[in-house]
């Protein structure tokens, strides 16, 4: 691996001190840090004494992959953690050292995000209804819960008592009084959720972080354990991390053997999750050695020129001087005469297919990005890429489980097998379940079976079809399979009910995956079924421990129907390493932090580029360590913040591109409205200026 001098300083020196490495994205900081790890190990350092700390798990992937591939002995044993995973591990290990009020009920129940949503709906929702909270807020319940949780998380990550959430938000508010009521409601719900967590011994992310930073980290045994275990720190993208991480490091750095802190200038994309680049920069003073990398190793000269040329049009006054070699226009291609979105999609797919099939570009070197990635756009892209034989993946490889035919079939069969739940499936659902469950059964015959044999929530035997002609039409072969399934369900119903995940597993193994049934040798259906089994098991195990009296199985089915559970059920490895075009929102791609050769930016006329999410219960800038508690959030601040966010976003994207960017534009957006967003304006203004400058020369 060829490293430039400053990279070598990070990779091969300062093994006994702390290093602050800064530079914009694409200057080779991560590459140097990976080399440092190998050098440390080769010098005799135990791999498991090296900790790579990242703001989110995906940012550890380049480390894990490179270290495994390196074939350096033990390199793969380096630990990678986030603050969240570290807090979880330490709380899980050292919880007996917590104050008595947290230990009396035994080992805590650690809540996943899914279970947090569930307990929000179960424990907080009744109070929301009773008190008529949030009556003027029109967003989905899940997003509402998420923002309540977000406030609790921010309080823990920034380090203020969760009881001050409402006051903090209200004191910054300048508008009508109605909004202050919403903040009061958000506070009441946060308080209630925390109370319930304490009552049921449930530790959500915010409580884990708060207990870790405020209590366990202050305990000598825990601090000794951590600082003895991890002697060498590599901290990736500290500008994307939160004050909780920064304060931990402020106390850890002076006692560790060595550390490298990597700081991306112009970062801070996770601000809405509590990232604080300003606070991160203060750690520079704690580090003994400072290394600044300024030589781009990713962008082509044209892309570098593009990044510099567009900066002033995005409000960046202090841009760098344009390099002499690159041409900004050489870095971009854009769609022309595209009035409607489908035309723009066709244009993008055409170029992607050409890159892959004609120019031999690996699909993993292409990303398709937009400000937001609505399902319709994602679906259109995926199906058109499929038609052109270009593999693609999205940042959410699975849809909600309830939308998968295999999962729907299992859930419907579960209702049939459990008449005591009082949740009879509709004829429509039964028809679809039969087509999924029985191989070769088409919709017409499944409908006939349902119409004739589905009575009062139960399936009757095939022989109950009185007309021989109808039996022949369905065929005796299919009738026999139907009877096998029905008999299995009947036998099951007559015995003691099993937990839902066990029911799914047995039904899958003993019937559905057997020859002549719908899941036999169907790998995709098996994966969905496995995800459903995992999800139902986790739900049953957690709820069973927390509230043993709650009937977990019907509760689970109700929650799946309501979209609370199994919404984003994705096994981590499914998202990994496919040689496929990534389709993602722009910020998601940034947070993968892995450069690619080509980027496609779609709907550049959309106003969403640079705009923050509508979050009526919270506020990313006010819920920040940098916020002056006496200040008010004004419209002018909003404009400046949006402009800055757009600049950082665009600069971040360009710096993660090696060869070229395709700008997709359609005159009318998805909703049929004309698109004149700030990114489009910036691109057009830049192009006009370049023409003017050319004439002038």
């Amino acid at each position: 691996m060829h490293l430039i001098k400053k990279q070598q300083e990070i990779a091969n020196a300062h093994f006994d001190t702390t290093v602050f490495a800064e530079g914009v994205a694409g200057t080779g900081k991560t590459t140097a840090a990976i080399e440092r790890i190998k050098s440390l190990i080769k010098s005799g350092v135990s791999a498991d004494s090296i900790l790579v700390l990242t703001p989110q798990a995906t940012l550890a992937l380049p480390y894990r992959t490179a270290l495994r591939r390196s074939r350096v002995k033990t390199a793969a044993d380096v630990h990678t953690e986030t603050l969240g995973s570290l807090a979880f591990r330490m709380v899980d290990l050292f919880w007996p050292l917590l104050p008595d009020e947290f230990t009396l009920k035994g080992r805590p129940h650690f809540l996943t995000l899914e279970m947090v949503q569930y307990y929000m709906s179960r424990l907080v929702e009744p109070e929301i209804r009773r008190q008529d909270y949030f009556n003027s807020v029109h967003i989905s319940r899940n997003r509402l819960y998420t923002q309540i949780v977000d406030n609790l998380n921010k309080a823990a990550l920034i380090g203020f008592p969760h009881e001050q959430i409402g006051e903090r938000l209200k004191s910054a508010w300048l508008g009508d009084v109605e909004q202050t009521y919403i903040y009061d409601d958000a506070q009441a719900c946060a308080n209630l959720f925390r109370e319930k967590c304490r009552e049921y011994n449930m530790f959500d992310f915010s409580l884990q972080v708060a207990l870790f930073r405020d209590y366990l980290w202050q305990q000598q045994p825990v601090r000794v354990y951590m600082t003895k275990k991890y002697r060498h720190l590599i901290v990736e993208n500290i500008e994307e991390d939160t004050p909780a991480t920064h304060e931990l490091l402020r106390e850890w750095l002076p006692v560790c053997e060595s550390a490298v802190l990597i700081y991306d200038k112009d970062g801070g994309f996770r601000r809405f999750l509590g990232a604080d680049p300003d606070n991160a920069l203060t750690l520079k003073d704690v580090c003994k050695v400072h290394v600044e990398l300024d030589r781009g190793r990713v962008m082509s000269p044209d892309l570098e020129a593009f990044q510099i040329a567009i900066a002033p049009h995005l409000g960046e006054k202090n841009g760098a001087t344009r390099p002499k070699t690159g041409d900004p226009r050489g870095a971009i291609a854009y769609s022309q005469d595209t009035r409607y979105q489908p035309q723009m999609i066709d244009w993008a797919v055409e170029h992607i297919a050409s890159l892959v099939h004609d120019q031999g570009v690996s699909p993993r070197e292409i990303v398709v990005l937009s400000a937001f990635m609505p399902d319709a756009l994602r679906f259109s892209l995926q199906s058109r890429l499929d038609e052109r034989h270009v593999p693609s993946r999205t940042h959410r490889p699975s849809r909600a489980l309830r939308e998968e035919p295999a999962a729907r079939a299992l859930l419907t069969l579960a209702r049939l097998a459990h008449p005591d739940w009082g949740m009879k499936p509709s004829k429509y659902d039964v028809t679809y379940a039969l087509t999924a469950a029985i191989a070769d059964l088409d919709l017409v015959r499944a409908r006939l079976l349902t119409d004739i044999l589905y009575r009062d929530g139960r399936l009757l035997p095939f022989e109950h079809i009185s007309e021989a002609q109808m039996q022949s039409r369905i065929t005796f072969d299919l009738g026999g399979r139907y009877d096998t399934l029905r008999a299995w369900l009947d036998t099951y119903s007559s015995t003691l009910a099993l937990p839902l995940d066990v029911f799914f597993s047995k039904l899958f193994g003993e019937v559905l995956s057997q020859p002549k049934f719908g899941f036999h040798k169907r790998f995709d259906a098996a994966n969905v079924a496995a995800n459903l089994v995992d999800s139902a098991r986790e739900f049953r195990q957690e709820v069973g421990k927390i509230e043993p009296d709650v009937p977990a199985a019907p509760e689970y089915v109700r929650m799946v129907d309501a979209g609370v559970i199994a919404n984003l059920y994705v096994r981590d490895w499914e998202a990994e390493k496919q040689d496929a075009v990534l389709i993602a929102p722009a910020y998601t791609f940034l947070l993968y932090n892995q450069p690619v050769e080509y980027q496609f930016w779609l709907n550049i006329g959309a106003s969403g580029w640079g705009q923050r999410l509508h979050q009526p219960l919270t506020h990313p800038y006010v819920m920040s360590l940098q916020w002056d508690e006496n200040a008010k959030w004004t419209d002018a601040m909003e404009v400046v913040a949006s402009q800055k966010a757009l600049y950082y976003l665009i600069a971040g994207l360009i710096r993660r591109c090696r060869k070229g960017i395709y700008l997709g534009y359609s005159e009318y957006g998805e909703q049929g409205l004309e698109q004149r967003g700030p990114l489009l304006m910036a691109v057009q203004n830049m192009l006009r200026r370049l023409v003017r400058e050319e004439r002038h020369v």
Partner: protein, 274 residues
């Protein structure tokens, strides 16, 4: 080459291969999930696994420095408590310092890597190197049988090949290595397996041969021993039966069953609805 370039073998995956090449292919090459039951009584099976996990966690907490009295006060299950008391009595007998619980070592193996995750590694620099594996199984297997298990082979080999950093930067002489299986449900009975250079060389040749065979073989056939299929979740995929085997007949030292490999992503802080 059948495997990705960052593939990592483990004792479980190698054992799977030895037991049934097709199972190895499905589970580790194709990463195909197949959620059929491994045993008939899944709840009892789960309860045993859960108790085993609880015991391992208690030991980890104890080795991390939490006082035994505090841990005893928090352990609810009678079996787990009994096992933990037995551990306190004999589990650390003659186990040298420093003690490293839950330690992983990964070393190259052929074109891939192999890892061992040790319950406890106790390596005195310049002295003995003990591998301790806590077992909570109901059955007590014979030493002859354990000696043939890939866990015994892989763990000792990996420590000899990659334990340098715990031994002052020098390779640990195989003669200094010993692996101990400690049986909680059998009053702390142990099965001990010393090591030596000859066995290390033989293990290296065997494991590299296996890795090479896996990497280059054109197909992964089903095991001819159909009795193994009773406890294999892929049995319906391979047309090798309907019902899972009986839990009473399942040899909990024979099969390492991966109940779930779902990784909890506790960093998912929501509202990422771009």
């Amino acid at each position: 080459m059948n495997l990705p370039d960052d593939f990592v073998f483990s004792q479980t995956s190698l054992q799977d291969y030895v037991d049934c090449p097709r199972r190895f292919e499905l589970r580790y090459v194709l990463r195909q999930r197949w959620p059929a039951p491994e045993v008939d009584d899944m709840l009892e099976f789960e309860a045993r696994m859960e108790k085993g996990d609880q015991f391992h966690h208690l030991v980890h907490q104890h080795l991390a420095g939490i006082a035994a009295e505090k841990l005893l006060a928090s352990s609810g299950d009678a079996d787990v408590r009994r096992w933990f008391e037995m551990y306190l009595e004999t589990g650390l007998e003659d186990v040298p310092e420093p003690r490293r619980p839950e330690t992983t070592i990964t070393v190259p193996l052929g074109e891939a890597m192999v890892l061992a995750k040790f319950d406890l590694l106790a390596v005195e620099p310049g002295g003995r190197a003990l591998i301790v594996d806590w077992k909570t199984s109901e059955r007590l297997p014979s030493a002859e049988r354990l000696a043939k298990r890939l866990q015994t082979i892989v763990y000792r080999y990996v420590l000899a090949a990659g334990g340098d950093a715990f031994y002052g930067g020098q390779p640990i002489p195989p003669e200094r290595i010993e692996m101990i299986y400690w049986y909680a449900d059998h009053e702390g009975t142990t099965r001990r397996f010393p090591y030596d250079a000859r066995q290390f060389a033989a293990d290296a040749a065997y494991l590299e041969g296996l890795a090479n065979e896996i990497a280059t073989r054109p197909a992964f056939p089903l095991t001819p021993d159909v009795t193994r299929c009773r406890f294999c979740p892929y049995r319906s995929l391979c047309d090798r039966g309907v019902q899972a085997g009986r839990l009473e007949e399942w040899d909990d030292d024979e099969d390492e069953i991966d109940l779930t490999t779902f990784t909890l992503d506790i960093d998912q802080i929501a509202e990422i609805e771009y």
